[in-house]
Structures are given as C-alpha cells and as structure tokens.
Amino acid sequence: MSFLTIKDGTYGYQGKEPILHGINWEIEKGGFHCLLGKSGCGKTTLLKLAAGLLKPDSGHIYLHGKEMTEPSHECGFVFQSPTLLEWKTVMDNVLLPLSLRRKLTGEDREHAASILELIGLSEHLNRYPAQLSGGQQSRVALARALIQHPSMLFLDEPFAALDAITREELQDDLLKICQLHNTTVLFITHDIAEAVYLSDRVAVMDQGRIIHAEDVNLAKPRTMKMRYDPYFNELCLQLRQIMSGEPS
C-alpha cells in the first residue's frame, strides 16, 4: 500500500478555472518524488493540498490509509523562503515545533544540536537568522522540519534562491538525511536537474494536470559524477521537451 495517496484531487478558487484537475498520485513508503513544472502550473497548490494546508474541492488525500483533513505532526514542511523567526536563535528556531506542543527538555536540546551538527551548523546555535547566509538559513529551515522525526516531508522549492554549489551540497544533505530515516518525500522544483538528481520518480505538471511521470533509475547514494552521466542528461532533455510541449 502506498504511503501518501492523492485521489482525484481538485482545487480552485471560486468562479475561476480550477488550479488542479483531478490529480492522482501515490508515493510508497520511503519514496522520494519530485513534482516538476513551470511557475503557475499549480504545483505549490498541489503540495499544500497534500500537506493538509488546503482542502480539496473534491477528491481525497490519504496518509498511510487515513484520510488527511488537516496538517499532521507526522509531516514536515519546508517553504520556498526559509521562514525563520528573526527574533529567535538558530537553536530556538529548530525547537519551535516542539516548543509549541510541550515544555522543552534537555533531551530536546541535545536532539536539536545533533540535527544541526548533521547539517553542518553546530557552530551557529546561538546566532540569529539575520547573521546567517542564505544557505545556512535554508539548512536551519530543513533542521526545523526534521526535529519532529516526520515520516513525510514536503518541500516547496526550498533551494531555489541558492547558488549552484550550495544547492548541490544541500541536495546531498537532504538525500542523506531522508535515507537515514527512510523519510517519504514530495519535493517541488522547476529545476529539471534537481528533480532528476533527487528523486526516484518525477512527475511533470502543466496547467493543473500531471502530464507525464517517469521513474529515475540512478544508483543510490547519488554522487556528483552522476550529474554528468549520459543517462542523467538524456533524462533531463526528455523532461525538458515534455515541459515545453515538444514531442519526444
């Protein structure tokens, strides 16, 4: 049985052409799926729908068999911008999800510190977000999403604003962490290479519909070299043509 199921998901604003038309999608446990599409194709809406931030007009979302009607503590969400709270230190930002639920313990702090270490930020625990670089802020946002051990992670173009090298580093970190915890991931991007590098399966979206789906057969763990592999580039080209509507 699949872990996350989107069944016939439709969504629109009143009196306007729907943004999403009857989307069907399934992700198995531990799967890493990417939604690829141009701006305005409805991919962020689909992600919010899947995460329970929006309610579908019709259709259903199931998280391991249970219908999802509101956000769940089992899910982590990483937004387009890091959305860190400027008035809290890195440590407190990472602990935010826990501090909203209960009183923090020393264990929680140790746990947060270990995640931050894993992600290469152990020297910046007591800094404020404004003192960090863009890449570091994205890392903190990722650490915050991981603090509750989510079994499902939603990411909305989290690395779009970063430079190429930093982005690649973060992609590797993300893969490493998700593999470690067998996290199921739905990742949104408009960057074809990013989608191919990260995911087991890529869906191409256009005008509120999934127009193509493709399995990515690259060995795990991914290495930098694979980015220059013929198969990698061929797949990128193929997806590129599908995105621009050319026959392949």
């Binding site: 899910c75 969400f77 937004f79 709270l85 400027e86």
Partner: protein, 251 residues
C-alpha cells in the same frame, strides 16, 4: 561624513551666538538672549522652582503614554485578530482620527476637573491612535508562509498570536510607540494650558501673564529636554529589542 557631528555642533554654536547678538538689540520681552534664558533656567532649577512642575508634567506624560499605549495595543490586537471587530470599529476609528483631539481638552477638563486626571486622559487619547493603527497593521501583515508554517505545526490561535504575530509586528508596534511619545508631550502641555496651576505648560501660561519671556523659554527648553529624553529611551529599547531583526554588520 566623519566630521558631520562636529559641524552639527558648530552650527549650534553659530546659531546661539547670532541669537545672542540679535537679542542684544531687542527688548528682553520679545526675544531674551540665550545667556539670560540659561541663567533663568539655572536659577529655577537651583531654587527648586521647576522641580514640582517637571515631576507633574513627566507624570502626566508617562501615565498618559502607559494607558493610551496599552489600550491602543490591546484594541489593536483585538481588531487585528477579529475581522468582525475590525469592520465594525474601523469607520469609527477613521472618524475619530479626523476629530482634532486637542480640541477636546476643554471638555475633558469639564468632565474630569482641573486635576491631573484630565491631563492624563487627554494624553492617553492622543497616544492611543498611533499604537492602535500600527498594531492593527503589524498584526495583519504577517508573512503568509510563516502563517502557513504555524498552521503546519498546528499552533493554536493564541500561540500564533504570541509566538508569531506580536514578535513579527514588534518593529511596527515600537514605531507607533515612538510617535506616541512625541505626541504625549504635546497632549500633556495642552492640557496644562487650558486648566491647572501645576506643570510646565501651566508655567508657560503663567509666564505669559507675567510677561516673563525668559521663564517661558526656560520652560520650553525643559519640555524639549523631557521629550528628547523619552524619545532616546524608546530608541534604546528599540535597538535592544530589535537587534536580532537587523542584518548585523561584520564584527
């Protein structure tokens, strides 16, 4: 830009010297020289004449600022949180903005007497609006993604208010407080103009009656000093509280 502060100080000296020279050719009744004003000020402080007035005016300003600011903040939060309240009250807020609030001072003296209460009420009323407006705006304009983050974390409405909306809106709210401080001085002085025998505003009116222009200037100086001091306090608080919000330059 290095010497700007020095030039600024130089300009002050220049202004004072030319004032002194111009004042020499005029009656003290019209324009007293800075030296005369300074002596009056010093005398008044040494003899303890100014002390009760300073205390009175400062008390009015602080109490008015406290109550006006507090109510403005609380109602601002209620209006920012509840669309119903916002729609219900906003026309009245706009209408009351148009009312020249200082023109209500005589009415408040009628209602609350010549005592300190009427001045505090006037000051509070004036301080109320900048806090109200800035709080409503700050509470409403929270980053959409941050609001989604709090929904994703299943934060309650109260938690979202305390942990997101108020701290995120703090810069705007403090800017409102800064405006309120300046207005508070005006409110207290106008209240004292209209009725009362204590406070620096009352001293100004009295000095007008006694044709004691140097005393008038001395009171004015004291009021300016109080205003600047309060403004500085707020600026320091702002700097301290908002430090994490600023992009810090390298150490």
């Amino acid at each position: 830009m290095k010497h700007v502060k020095f030039y600024s100080f130089l300009l002050l000296i220049l202004l004072l010297v030319s004032w002194e020279m111009i004042a020499g050719s005029m009656s003290e009744l019209v324009l007293p020289a800075p030296s005369v004003i300074f002596i009056t000020l010093l005398d008044g402080i040494q003899s303890g004449y100014f002390m009760p007035h300073i205390i009175r005016t400062t008390t009015e300003i602080l109490l008015g600022l406290f109550f006006g600011g507090l109510f403005g903040f609380i109602i601002g939060i209620l209006m920012g949180e509840s669309e119903f309240l916002r729609k219900l009250l906003f026309p009245y807020v706009i209408a009351s903005q148009a009312v020249p609030k200082l023109a209500l001072a005589p009415l408040f003296i009628l209602w609350f007497g010549f005592d300190i209460t009427s001045k505090v009420v006037i000051t509070a009323l004036i301080c109320f609006f900048p806090l109200l407006e800035n709080t409503v705006t700050a509470i409403q304009h929270v980053d959409k993604q941050k609001a989604d983050l709090f929904r994703m974390l299943k934060a309650s409405r109260w938690q979202t208010l305390i942990h997101l909306k108020i701290p995120a809106g703090l810069p705007g709210i403090l800017a409102g407080l800064r405006v309120a401080v300046v207005l508070a001085v005006v409110g207290a002085v106008v209240g004292e103009f209209i009725g009362g025998s204590e406070g620096l505003g009352a001293v100004i009116i009295a000095s007008q009656g006694m044709m004691d222009t140097p005393l008038m200037f001395a009171s004015l100086l004291l009021l300016t000093f109080i205003g600047m001091l309060l403004y500085q306090v707020i600026t320091i608080l702002e700097k301290r509280w908002l430090k994490p919000y600023m992009k810090e330059t390298k150490k």
